[in-house]
């Protein structure tokens, strides 16, 4: 075992996958010479050279379009979008091109590509360096994952790179250096579309991922003091979701609270709540609560940012209400 940070786990996964498979390439802004603005691609250019580690111009739509083409000609591109916020110029290529290509070609062509996107708040980034944009990509043909731990960061990135479909990999900037854990030295994969029970509990299910997972776990600790035993699910795959794990847990606890950073309206919490309201309705003992970012753009000033993001306190309060209902 080896203790690594979340960002180190990502960097390790990239090194290992590039060593294992010469068709894996990296492209994005500042990923080569600089090793990535967060150093996720550190050391790759030196080891694998300019043909496999490509510093691109500022052109996100091109980065994704070129990745699709590269995937068609036998490469396995791992594109980096410097901040998830900057994926919007590439929305078109992702949603109309990458997502639909396999289907459009009647299954005859695959698009094995990974798009790494540093996302999330709590880092003093302001509106264009903090957004959580996973809800934009609930698009058939795409897969969206987001790890919360170093173990998963490594295992899910490997799974994404080996996947035959386009995978968006959202990595939380605030977790990069704040979370450390031991991970096996030997090879492992974390399967796509499998959520994880991060904490066992019987009274209520908290469903979350990323930074909010940690706030949910903190909330669970506090709630335990009050006698509320919360189960906490770490989603890991955000689209298409692991309904089974969610339904199994909520089926037992009969209460659910979803927590995410993105604005509440139109967030993936809506999809989860809707699934529960549609398919698990008879097992619910309380309203499905959503604790989410505000329905505003993401603010910069710390006073506002703290107010914008779900706090542990807000989660505790929300879960309490759900359990009292």
């Amino acid at each position: 075992m080896k203790e690594v940070t979340y960002i180190q786990a990502i960097n390790d996964a990239l090194h290992e996958e590039m060593e294992r498979d010469p068709s894996v390439i990296i492209l994005g802004e500042d990923v080569g010479i600089y090793g990535g603005v967060f150093k996720a691609t550190y050391g790759l250019l030196e080891k694998f050279g300019e043909e496999r580690v490509i510093d691109t111009p500022i052109a996100e739509s091109m980065i994704i379009g070129v990745s699709v083409g590269a995937a068609l000609s036998g490469l396995r591109p791992v594109a980096e979008i410097q901040f998830a916020d900057f994926i919007s110029p590439a929305f078109d290529q992702l949603v109309q091109q990458a997502a639909k290509l396999h289907w459009r070609n009647n299954g005859a062509l695959n698009v094995p590509m990974t798009v790494r996107c540093p996302y999330g708040g709590g880092v003093g980034g302001g509106v264009y360096h903090s957004q959580s944009v996973e809800a934009w990509f609930q698009i058939p043909g795409l897969i969206v994952v987001s790890p919360s731990t170093p173990y998963d960061a490594k295992g899910l990135l490997k799974a994404a790179i080996r996947c035959e479909d386009p995978v968006l990999y959202f990595e939380h900037k605030k977790l990069y250096r704040s979370i450390k854990e031991e991970v096996p030295e030997e090879e492992y994969i974390v399967p796509i579309r499998k959520a994880r029970i991060a904490r066992k509990g019987k009274d209520v299910t908290l469903i979350s991922f990323g930074l909010m997972l940690y706030r949910s776990l903190e909330a669970a600790l506090k709630l335990a003091e009050e006698g509320i035993e919360a189960e906490v699910i770490d989603l890991r795959t955000l689209y298409p979701m692991d309904k089974e794990t969610i339904f199994d847990s909520v089926g037992r606890t009969r209460r659910a609270v979803v927590i995410h950073e993105a604005p509440k309206m139109g967030g993936i919490g809506g999809e989860i709540a809707a699934m529960l309201a549609e398919e698990l309705f008879w097992k619910l003992d309380a309203p499905v609560k959503r604790i989410a970012g505000l329905d505003t753009p993401f603010p910069f000033a710390p006073t506002m940012e703290n107010y914008y993001l779900p706090s542990t306190e807000k989660i505790v309060q929300g879960v309490r209400e759900t359990c009292e209902a």
């Binding site: 390439i25 043909e51 496999r52 490509i54 691109t56 111009p57 052109a59 739509s61 091109m62 994704i64 379009g65 070129v66 990745s67 699709v68 083409g69 590269a70 995937a71 068609l72 000609s73 036998g74 490469l75 591109p77 110029p89 078109d92 290529q93 109309q96 091109q97 639909k100 290509l101 396999h102 289907w103 459009r104 070609n105 009647n106 299954g107 005859a108 062509l109 695959n110 698009v111 094995p112 058939p140 043909g141 897969i143 996947c163 035959e164 479909d165 796509i192 579309r193 298409p240």
Partner: protein
Amino acid sequence: MELTREDLERLYDLLLLTRTLDDRLRRLFRQGRFEGTYFSAIGQEATTVVPTYLLKKDDFIGPAHREIGAMITRGVPIREVVCQVYARKESPDGGKMHPCTFGHPRYHILVPATLMAMQIPVAVGVALGYRNHRRDNLAVTFFGEGATCKGDFHEALNFAGVHKLPVVFICQNNFYAESVPLRLQTAAEDISVRAVAYGFPGVSVDGNDVLKVYEACREAFQRARSGGGPTLIECTTYRWYGHSDIDLAPYRPQEEVEAWKKKDPIPRFKRYLFEEGILTEEKEAEIIRRIAAEIDEAIDYAENSPRPDPEDVLKDVYATAL
């Protein structure tokens, strides 16, 4: 490659086949024989048939929406071309796509997304793969002048220039994007000049002159294959009919249409072939007969071939079993 007499005859054959099939499909659409709409490329055949003919069979083609000629020249059976237009189960896209989404993965022609210019970065990415794998292939992508106004065109050509990738960009400038005339599309003096911004050559040729298109492509393909990087080739040409077959194209002066019909690439090439003694009246008659029979057979086949099953829509959303 140098064109032999056989090549020239074959090219004529392919041009005629493209023209004849295109014309039949137009009529079939008007007769309500298939759904959707139909984009005729009549008048523009030289710009797709000639480049495709010069490619290797496994070179990548990224088409837009008027590349029936590329599909035919690449050797896709006419049956399958018609099945595509008819959206039958045996279509290369399984009937999932709109007619004129010409493409065929097994023939290395992408079934395109029909958003303009979207295939251009994909072709560049394919070329990147060729470079990395040291494959002696090139990627070619077709698009209209309208598509050159889009961001994807710019970003993709710029990147291809930086890495001198084996990709050739073929623009069919037919002077209109649907109804919008060139003067409202760009103030650039022509389309090929856009290449200046990317540090590689751009050339403009008469896209209705088979030999001119041939020469421009030969040079560009050679350069790309030998590591010399991309070229933007502008082929000026004209579509005889509306943007699609529900468009009567009232926005074009009749004299303009007539003048362009006089520049029809096929008779021009035919004159040359006759002058050179490559083609004779008998040979041509035989080609025409063969083409007609082949097309009849293909249409008959497609019309009687099954439609997709409703549940087919659910297939192939993902390559992975999730």
